[in-house]
């Protein structure tokens, strides 16, 4: 049973989705229980897999039972295989866990925002999780593309199901996403034509074995196309155009699922491509792209931060912050040292949690107040203490203040920057932290104080009616639980950064002493 866990992890949401289509086509009430059940099984399987990986090291799972057939295929993989190493296993827990917690929020919104389409939404929701997990778990470059497309198509639909305004945003997203995925496919094609296999590990070995192969221009172009494709999908500035509108106009539960996960999983894929496919030696010793890419990342960080500063719409602001965070991760990964990559990988986890936390809190506040500009926060601390507590934790993490996880990811990234001597990257990280501080404390100010807002005049926190009903959060319990869990995760991941960083370090494959 244990060795089937990776497949169970993939199949639970998959079967859930198909089962909904098969048996519950006209029964919207079945949607949420199936989502919860399927995701709970997935989380369980992921946790068991993680435990297994921690105990016994990397897991390889051969699908279709095609062994590596040493005598007949020169030891190459003829089938598709899963490969779950320390970092993968962590991400595999993260994806269904966030989806599961988000389902608590989704439960309250599904019937409102997607009336008449509950089953469709639930199917797409589960299949998105399948796609994201599948991208992380697979060890086959083409299979990665297929799962990438599954996650893309489901996300297009999950966004497009939204309001009128979502239509054009989704169309742009489809265009960009298709270009990105196709670039990725083309890059894989360039590798295939020169190497002849699609298995990530085998390609890596071939590249390591032959220096002529590494000299080839087409391999370099392959690396370029794969990276460009992934950057498009993750929304690295200046390829981010699709991102803010898509997340902003999507149904709120889509936003709070996709914002934490989709771009982050793309970063995970990028890291895997860098570490497991091309290899750090090749990327940093033989291609000298670091200055350029770190430069782009710096611009992304600054641009994202300042665009966020210019936003009046809360969700728009958060979306641009994601653009900045993508810059953090890409820059960190391309610093080319262990601390930088550790920082980028760790930031994937921490950014997922804090973005999730912020999106949930913001969704709750927007729903409660009916406003989606910064003025929605007036008196929020008093009206919605739990939501604001979660928001505060997420915000502090975004700013990078201890002991939240945002501080520690920034810590590793900064160390990477200092060690690599990329001072401009260090400076951009710090500037972005400061801009985030301005952003969020501007909100806290609105929340704490009597702010004279344009139309409604002076607003006194104490003048709020003492009506007990009005004073309570008026947020469904599920959402409250979701927010609390997310905020706790932000703190826990921060405090657990040592073991996480050491998993990541073992993944990077350099000897690093493991915490006792």
């Amino acid at each position: 049973m244990m060795d089937q866990m990776p497949t169970i992890l993939m199949l639970a949401p998959f079967i859930g989705a198909v089962g909904l289509s098969l048996l519950a086509w006209r029964r919207p009430a079945a949607a949420m229980p199936v989502v919860f059940g399927a995701l709970a099984i997935t989380v369980l399987a992921a946790v068991l897999t993680l435990r297994e990986v921690l105990a016994n090291g990397t897991i390889t799972y051969l699908l279709s039972g095609w062994d590596r057939l040493p005598e007949r295929a020169a030891g190459m993989a003829v089938g598709i295989e899963y490969k779950i190493d320390a970092f993968n296993a962590l991400v595999l827990v993260l994806i269904p866990a966030i989806a599961l917690i988000n389902a608590l929020y989704l439960r309250t919104r599904l019937a409102v925002e997607c009336a008449g389409k509950e089953i469709l939404y639930a199917i797409l929701y589960l299949l998105l999780v399948v796609g994201l997990c599948g991208m992380v778990i697979t060890n086959d470059a083409f299979n990665l593309y297929v799962l990438l497309e599954i996650s893309s198509l489901t996300s297009y639909a999950l966004i497009g199901i939204g309001r009128r305004r979502a239509a054009h945003a989704t169309f742009n997203y489809i265009m960009t996403g298709t270009i990105g995925a196709s670039f990725f496919l083309l890059g894989v094609g360039y590798l295939y034509i020169q190497v002849g296999t699609l298995n990530i590990g085998d390609i890596h070995e071939a590249l390591m074995a032959s220096s002529e192969l590494r000299e080839l221009a087409s391999i370099k172009v392959a690396a370029m196309m794969i990276m460009a494709g992934l950057w498009l999908k993750m929304g690295l500035f200046p390829l981010h155009g699709w991102l803010p509108n898509a997340y902003r106009y999507a149904p709120t539960a889509t936003g709070s699922l996709m914002a934490p996960l989709v771009t982050k999983v793309m970063v995970v894929v990028m890291l895997r491509m860098m570490v497991s496919l091309f290899g750090l030696d090749y990327l940093f010793a033989e291609l000298n792209w670091r200055p350029v890419i770190v430069g782009i990342a710096c611009v992304a960080i600054l641009a994202g931060s300042f665009f966020a500063l210019a936003q009046r719409d809360i969700r728009g602001m958060l979306c641009f912050l994601i653009v900045a965070e993508v810059g953090y991760m890409v820059g960190g990964a391309w610093l080319g040292n262990e601390a930088g990559i550790t920082g980028a990988a760790y930031h994937v986890l921490s950014d997922a949690c804090m973005t999730f936390c912020l999106f949930l809190a913001v969704a709750a506040i927007i729903l409660r107040t009916g406003e989606h500009r910064l003025s929605a926060f007036r008196g929020a601390f008093r009206k919605m203490p739990v939501a604001m507590a979660a928001f505060t934790v997420g915000a502090l993490s975004m700013v990078g203040l201890p002991p939240t996880c945002g501080f520690f990811s920034k810590w590793y990234l900064l160390i990477g920057g200092v060690e690599a001597g990329q001072w401009h990257y260090v400076a951009c990280l710090l500037i972005s932290s400061l801009v985030n501080a301005v952003l969020f404390f501007r909100i806290f100010e609105i929340a704490l104080m009597k702010v004279e807002v344009e139309e409604s005049g002076s607003f006194d926190v104490d003048a709020l009616p003492e009506d007990p009903e009005d004073r309570w959060e008026r947020v469904p319990v599920g959402t409250i639980v979701a927010m609390i869990v997310a905020a706790t995760a932000v703190l826990t991941i921060g405090l657990l950064n040592r073991p996480i960083a050491s998993f990541i370090a073992t993944w990077i494959g350099q000897a690093v002493e493991v915490a006792p």
């Binding site: 007949r72 599954i150 370029m224």
Partner: protein, 340 residues
């Protein structure tokens, strides 16, 4: 490969591509794009990629064109000039020049076209597929065996991609209230094709059964000849689309309602994944058909062969129904009423 033919095809390809993008009449553009697809089919067939050509003919030239036409029908037929985009155009051209330069530079060290010793063709894995797959699976069509067995996991998700597209389109443009009404109205006394042209109607009466029979053949005979679940499924779906085009969507929906379509589509995937799960239940890994020789007759290789057939049938179910649903929704703006 006959290089003269290939060269002519390539030139025509580029020309049709440019035309379909230049033409202002969107219906014309869609048609030219259909021609483009057929040309590229020829090219692929010439290169020995018969299954790809078959699929492209059915999907690219057939279904794509039909759904393009359906959308043009429901939006605008003529596109205006370009009022705004000149700056964008220059930027894009510059980008294309750079990208083209990079890609052509990279193509400099590709092995020559058709070189049997190129890394991709000479790789042990490629050799293994050609040499070993018949022994392993007793399926002469290598594409089928690689598709449904060695890379069966990929194909499962390929089927899911189709499924997602159907669900997604319904989610995006489906109109829930109209849909309910439609389901109720279904099955009333409306006559088949009462407002259609007689010639079209009679032609379809002849063509549809033949098409469906052929589709079944393609699915079933995919082991021995070009074809398989996708190609057959597309053809089968096309038969329903033909029915809807000639006799009215209502008639087609009466035979294959939307909810039934999705149930069947899910059934197809369940067949596929269920077979994989069965392998797991018997103690092997997911989709390892070899273990099924305890259930299926004819030894390990034949067990693989039979499993592939069943799995392809599952794919066929899904593709058939989903393509029809995609057409039905796009042709009616999600209302499932009226149609083209």
């Amino acid at each position: 490969m006959i290089w003269q033919l290939d060269l002519i095809l390539l030139i025509f390809l580029v020309i049709t591509a440019l035309i379909s993008l230049r033409v202002r009449d969107l219906l014309g553009a869609s048609m030219v794009f259909g021609i483009y697809s057929f040309l590229i089919c020829l090219l692929w067939a010439g290169m020995g990629a018969v299954d790809v050509a078959f699929t492209e003919a059915a999907v690219g030239a057939g279904v794509s064109t039909v759904i393009l036409v359906a959308t043009v029908y429901h939006t605008r037929r003529v596109t205006g000039g370009h009022k705004r985009a000149s700056g964008m155009k220059v930027l894009s051209l510059l980008l294309m020049l750079v990208l083209g330069g990079v890609l052509l530079h990279a193509s400099g060290d590709f092995p020559a076209l058709g070189d049997p010793t190129s890394p991709a063709n000479d790789h042990p894995v490629a050799q293994y597929y050609i040499e070993g797959s018949y022994q392993d699976t007793k399926v002469p069509n290598l594409v089928t065996s690689v598709l449904a067995d060695y890379r069966g996991y990929d194909t499962l998700f390929e089927t899911v991609v189709v499924f997602v597209a159907g669900i997604g389109i319904l989610a995006v443009i489906g109109v829930p209230t109209a849909r309910m009404r439609r389901e109720e109205v279904c099955g009333d006394t409306a006559q088949f094709g009462e407002d259609s042209d007689l010639i079209i109607l009679q032609t379809c009466r002849l063509v549809v059964p033949v098409l469906q029979l052929f589709a079944l053949y393609v699915i079933a005979h995919g082991h021995h000849s070009p074809g398989g679940g996708f190609q057959g499924g597309v053809l089968f779906g096309a038969s329903y689309i033909l029915l809807a085009l000639s006799g009215g969507l209502r008639e087609a929906l009466r035979r294959l309602s939307e909810s039934m379509s999705f149930r069947l589509a899910a059934c197809g995937i369940v067949i596929y994944a269920g077979f994989g799960l069965l392998c797991m239940a018997l103690g092997s890994s997911f989709l390892d058909y070899a273990i099924l020789d305890s259930i299926l007759p004819g030894g390990v290789a034949m067990a693989r062969s039979h499993s592939m057939l069943i799995v392809e049938a599952g794919v066929g179910f899904t593709v058939t129904t989903i393509l029809f649903v995609i057409y039905a929704n796009l042709a009616t703006r999600g209302k499932l009423e009226g149609g083209l």
